[in-house]
């Protein structure tokens, strides 16, 4: 009888129980983690649509910036055509405002400023406003906020 537990006679059995125990606990843990990760992932989202009709081309005067703050977009019409800008500031996601008098798009949160083409005029925003997809379908303009397009893309109408 020593101080230590004699595990020599049973060492195979102990080893087997240890390995199967750890293995089954690991499997249960991994399964539980996977189930939890799936659980916290919402399956259906009740959010406003990201693509929507914004109006007819003739609703927008030439050389104008029209803001739709609920849907967080600007529709800009130049002499060439249309493009759409996301009104979400590229700094930290506040909704910018179109200031007609200053011909500037400005963010109320941290003071970033953008030109009417979305170009960055003043920080702290790191990038110009996102230019998003706009297309004409059956006489109506349709904006899709999830699709970003090149900064020089213009829809000619």
């Amino acid at each position: 009888m020593g101080d230590r537990v004699q595990d020599e006679p049973d060492s195979d059995r102990r080893r087997f129980l240890w390995i199967t125990g750890v293995a089954s606990l690991s499997a249960a843990g991994a399964g539980g983690a996977a189930v939890l990760a799936d659980f916290v992932h919402p399956k259906v989202l009740f959010e406003p649509p990201t693509a929507f009709r914004i109006g007819r081309p003739e609703d927008f005067p030439v050389n104008s910036v029209s803001a739709d703050y609920d849907r967080k977009v600007y529709i800009v019409r130049t002499e060439v055509g249309f493009f759409a800008l996301s009104a979400v500031c590229t700094h930290l996601g506040c909704i910018t405002r179109w200031l007609e008098d200053e011909q500037t798009i400005a963010c109320p949160c941290h003071g970033s400023k953008f030109g009417r083409d979305g170009s960055l005029a003043l920080g702290p925003a790191p990038r110009p406003l996102r230019r998003i997809a706009i297309r004409l379908e059956e006489g109506e303009l349709i904006v899709d906020t999830t699709v970003e397009v090149q900064a020089d893309t213009v829809l000619r109408v």
């Binding site: 989202l45 009740f46 506040c94 949160c109």
Partner: protein, 240 residues
């Protein structure tokens, strides 16, 4: 029957003895037993050298932080009686607490100011520990636990910010979750899971509510127990 006799009979009853295991006679043994046999006191050491109790060793900042945590726990639970984490009830409930319910404004303000004060107290506590070198061995691990507690304190502040569901709350969480999104690789997914979607809506409100009222306080309570226990096991507060 005199008061002394009544008291003697009371402490002789089986009910009394079943609760209190020893008599209150001022002896070293009983003083130790008072601490040992009480679940709330036993986290404390039985004896502390008098010189360790000097105010300027700790400025009571850790104790103040914990005291504020308890204030937040009590006021927070009371606020929960009237608050529903849903749109549009959340904002209405907040206004009802502020303007209609007796002592509602007082409890809200107490919760708010205690939250601000706790952030300050925790920060000063950390500064005190740092400048007095109390993070050095054998206390390195407790410093790490303390840093996690600081982060939990800030997260509790942040998650509580959304609950009034007003403009300040909405835009603060917009800014905060966009900061989280900027984290490399996991940022966008983390933001999505934190909000329970792509926008700050019902899902985000419920998630922040559960984190604020259940998950983070439980995590903080567990780590506080470890933190206090380690203070004692690492030798308590020692003079510089």
């Amino acid at each position: 029957m005199s008061v002394a006799e009544l008291k003697e009979r009371l402490v002789g009853t089986q009910v009394w003895k079943s609760v209190f295991r020893h008599r209150y006679i001022d002896s070293n043994r009983n003083r130790a037993l008072t601490v040992f046999s009480n679940v709330f006191l036993h986290i404390h050491p039985v004896k502390i050298p008098e010189k360790n109790l000097r105010f300027w060793h700790t400025m009571c900042l850790g104790g103040l932080s914990f005291g504020l945590f308890l204030v937040l726990l009590v006021t927070g639970v009371l606020l929960m009686f009237y608050y529903r984490p849903a749109v549009p009830q959340a904002y209405r409930d907040m206004k009802e607490l502020e303007f209609v319910i007796s002592s509602g404004a007082f409890l809200r303000n107490l919760h708010r100011w205690a939250a601000h004060a706790m952030v300050v107290a925790v920060f000063l506590h950390m500064a005190r520990v740092f400048y007095s070198g109390a993070y050095r061995p054998p206390r390195e691990f407790n410093w790490v636990v303390g840093v996690v507690l600081l982060v939990l304190t800030l997260l509790l502040s942040y998650t509580g910010y959304l609950l009034p569901w007003d403009q300040l709350a909405y835009w603060a969480i917009t800014v905060g979750t966009n900061m989280a999104e900027a984290a490399p690789l996991i940022g966008p997914k983390f933001k999505f899971l934190l909000l329970g979607g792509n926008i700050i809506g019902e899902n985000a409100l419920v998630r922040f509510y559960v984190l604020h009222c259940v998950v983070l306080p439980l995590a903080a309570a567990a780590l506080l127990a470890v933190h206090f226990w380690r203070v004692r096991k690492d030798g308590g507060v020692r003079p510089l």
